[in-house]
Symmetry: D2
Subunit: 344 residues, 4 copies
């Protein structure tokens, strides 16, 4: 019998895509979609290409929380109270906001606002399956990582675990969907087209999340992180510049380190050439290449993801799969099912 | 047991996408990929996002024709001789070129060159399933329609069949992938970006194909057809302006005509609003809207497809499914499987 | 001594560009910029690339109308009352709205709303210099044409004047700046990118303007006009399909007709190949090609303009130049001054 | 009397734009355009938007070198012999290639090939006017900087001169025109669109040029430099991450350092917000912002240029102006003449 799932906050880009993935999922049943704007409209009216013929409803916990699991796609700060209510009703939750990503409520308070449900922080698992797969299995609350942390941590994880990161600069490039559905000067076509610029300088909110997780792997560094908006719809590349803390050997050694770290990972691809975001568009895949700048003594790592997929919605489904004891790739690898098997 | 299929000419955009779709197809087995350029390279090196880890081989009919079916993605003119050889070996063929689309070898000769295998024209079925589904079932040779004719005929079919087309102008807009993989001044990013222009004026080669099929439906008209290149990668919109031959009634009557014509069609969607090419990106779907310009006495029909999918590769698989007795949607509806069922 | 000019409504795309052009104009002096939103901000903060270091002020006619001329860039309907006040103070006005383009207030009322200053309609000159140059010279009120009518009328003028238009369909493609500065779902990058679709079907407001001016030239037709949004920032192409009312001769005859019609025109270019919008980007130039579809018996004319320049702001300056007795090309041909001379 | 100038190698993007700028230049006279491909075609056929109605000729030094000055837009390696011939005829030369940028022929030999005219290296001035204005005045041979070095050195110059650069990472993003006119897989629209990726990792040829010039300012560092291709036509952003060698004070101190360094510079703009490449499109302007990442102890500097303008052609004209004793801004600031004066 399929597990029932509601999506709370389905009118935004990530909630809507989550709904689409759930609708096509063989072992999950999309129960309800709620929204705060656009209530009463059908999702396939807002997003024709997702083809989800379901109406957006106003939140009614008595009806919408009668499910096995929920995905919450609320803004930071607004998510925590809803998550608390869902957990009180024993619904498993994947939360797409930042509210449960940081273990320390004071750090959260510094970068966001006072935490609304600090009592849940202990049970929240950071939802990067390549890192916390075992803890996610059976978890009740998973904090889905931010898109930038997802790519950055997959890029830097092997180096961090090996104790090789002296310091690190992350220069990220993201498509405009990363700025969300809100129509603003920033997301206006005429602003973003034929343009590139940095934003959130020098203190983007994804920094504490990256630092926390690097520290968990033993790399206690202050990260310089600068995201840039580039004129494409979805896709994200992080270019990571690592000054190693000790000799890293040659390129072959580095490549072996990555190959070992990601052996058997269904959604990580290693390539010798720098990956393009186009290579991973509309997939749950993170594509990584590692390079050695011998002249300057630096390791350079690139990681490309689709910010709406592995950076949000499909990773949420990957986490749901693990939480519910389903095959990890179910419902997200469909388009490339044949290929992925062939690749292994 | 799955049917084995080879793709001949896999280095181009449509052949490569066909290979990807076949690799993920549950009832077909991708046997071999041949190419004329790039022999020896793996397809996932040329097209990482297709994830087809198979090497391109030089044509060797003794090995590559040992299959149940073949897709030929050769240039116009070059396809016919290969198709003839494959048919001589009793291989079922979907041909993506124009070589078997026109019934009259003289018309073909006028628009292309002298036909290389006119003896096969009689058995060739024009591969528009929404029109010739029954003939395609079990056929030995199917001529996959051009991308512009696919969209144009789906847009105009109901009007033509109802005897309502007095004359018609088709203004088409296509993404740059329609110009093929060849790197030229025309496909250079700096030429196509921030640009729109018409090409093939006034006599694009897709005209006879459109006229032939409209005539089969009873509309004996000279079509004005003008394609335009627009700055996007894949997607195609045709805007059809029909001066009706008689009174068409009101908009409701027209909409009913289309609803009836496409009732039950798995890959045609009717919408009240003009469709966007984004709505059908990476799908086999044709999305159509019909409008009435009462002031000027014209019917306006829009149809959007993905030129590489419904306009080529996924329609080829749709045809293969029919030819081999498989479910028509197998292997092409996967990404939206759940949704499509829900829509019905 | 330079003429002083104020721009009313400078926060939008066309008002801001007008301000930039005036600031660089050798014989005009930019006096003041008013706005309804963003008052208090400097224009170079809103539009860095225009480099207009002037603050937007709230409307104060006593100060801002103390000028020789004004450009009004208000929304349709809102412009008329302001224009009336400016004319009462004897300020020469170029109005970018539709308010004074239609001679018949009833037609205006049908497509827009009740006219707010019908008494001024008699003195308003339709500001297409290639058509009404003599009347614009010294005029007090010029109604700057819409972007689509500008391109359409320049494309069709010679045929209309020659009595050759039986009927006409205009399929237009415009960049997103044509939708204005307002941040909406429609202008969001993620909506417009990789997309093409029609809008305003079947009754776009530019139709009466086109029909009025074609009728003035003797072509009394009902125009089918359909604009499409394409993923680029600025630029517009109209593809005009004319069924001639009588024999038009061969292509050479048509080309001669156009060559004669536009001989000596500083801002019209004729080309044998279909023009691209990129060819006219950031210029006041309209680039036109005429073609003959002998099979279907139709004349096809393409015209490309920059919708913000010749379609609005630079044409406004062209009109100002004529109204004030300045050289017609002053302040708009600067970037290509040398070339244009060389071309003649 | 105007100075006569020939452009050698006008068929490429930078040579063609140089020709356009020279044609519009009030004190220079475009004498001849040579090319290696496309001989016999007119430049306005290849590049309609440049409107240069001049035919490309095969190189004939006896005719084409009878000029006061020349711009050479040949590939690296091919330029040096031509430059030598021109200098032998006493023609002043701005060379757009890398051939005379590196003072040390061994370094050149390491990154490119054996130098073909090392005897000229001593007289060659590195053509960054903001750095070497006095030496460029009256120079006979100016090596126009690469686009990446132009932006990088303008971004880093003030820090280098102040002795503050401990080490530096430069992450650059460039539009596709930076890859040149050659139609390749890389410049194909379908490759570049909706994509971002790094190239030239880890050893792009612009590195020695950047290091040489930083060293001249006292910063003896090994630079990590990684360029990325982004989906836009022209424009370039460098994001520079500097670990300072000593305490740099607060942000205000840094901003004062930059304000002083660039006081009076006609083509450098300082902004508090990160610049967008759109802000400088089709201008000779470099727009710079400096930031302090106090958490990580780094200085971040962004610089945006148009790679074809300040990164090549308009900087070449700027250099020509200086070499010939003309006003530095002549012929390149025309479009924003008024604004620029207003800004000062």
């Amino acid at each position: 019998m399929p597990h029932s799932v509601s999506v709370f906050g389905s009118a935004g880009f990530t909630g809507a895509l989550t709904a689409r993935l759930l609708l096509g999922h063989p072992s999950l049943e999309l129960s309800a979609l709620t929204a705060r704007s656009d209530v009463g409209r059908r999702l396939d009216d807002l997003y024709p290409h997702h083809r989800v013929p379901i109406e957006l409803e106003e939140l009614d916990l008595d009806r919408h929380a009668e499910v096995d699991a929920a995905v919450v796609a609320y803004p930071h700060g607004a998510a925590a109270p809803l998550v608390a209510e869902l957990r009180a009703r024993d619904v498993r939750v994947v939360d797409l906001s930042a509210d449960f990503r940081l273990h320390d409520p004071e750090v959260y308070g510094h970068w966001y606002r006072e935490h609304q449900a600090p009592e849940l922080l202990d049970e929240a698992i950071y939802g990067l399956p390549e890192r916390y797969r075992d803890q996610i299995r059976g978890a009740g609350l998973v904090a889905n990582p931010g898109c930038y942390p997802t790519a950055s941590l997959l890029a830097l994880g092997p180096l961090a675990r090996a104790g090789l990161i002296g310091d690190v600069i992350i220069d990220a490039k993201s498509g405009v969907s990363g700025a969300g559905r809100a129509a603003t000067d920033k997301t206006h076509f005429v602003t973003a087209d034929e343009n590139v610029n940095a934003y959130g300088v020098p203190s983007h909110r994804h920094i504490p999340e990256i630092e926390q997780e690097l520290a968990m792997l033993g790399a206690d560094v202050r990260v310089t992180f600068v995201p840039h908006l580039v004129p494409l719809d979805q896709g994200e590349l992080v270019s990571c510049y690592v000054t190693p803390s000790e000799d890293v050997g040659d390129l072959r050694t580095l490549e072996a380190l990555y190959a070992e770290a990601y052996a058997g990972e269904p959604f990580v691809e290693l390539t010798p050439k720098p990956p393009g975001v186009r290579d991973v568009r509309e997939t749950n895949i993170c594509r990584i290449s590692v390079h050695l700048d011998e002249r300057a003594g630096r390791v350079i790592v690139f990681a490309a993801i689709d910010n709406l997929w592995k950076g949000a919605a499909s990773q949420a489904v990957q986490n749901l799969n693990l939480m519910l004891g389903l095959p990890e790739e179910e419902g997200i690898g469909v388009t490339v099912a044949g290929e992925r098997e062939a690749l292994r």
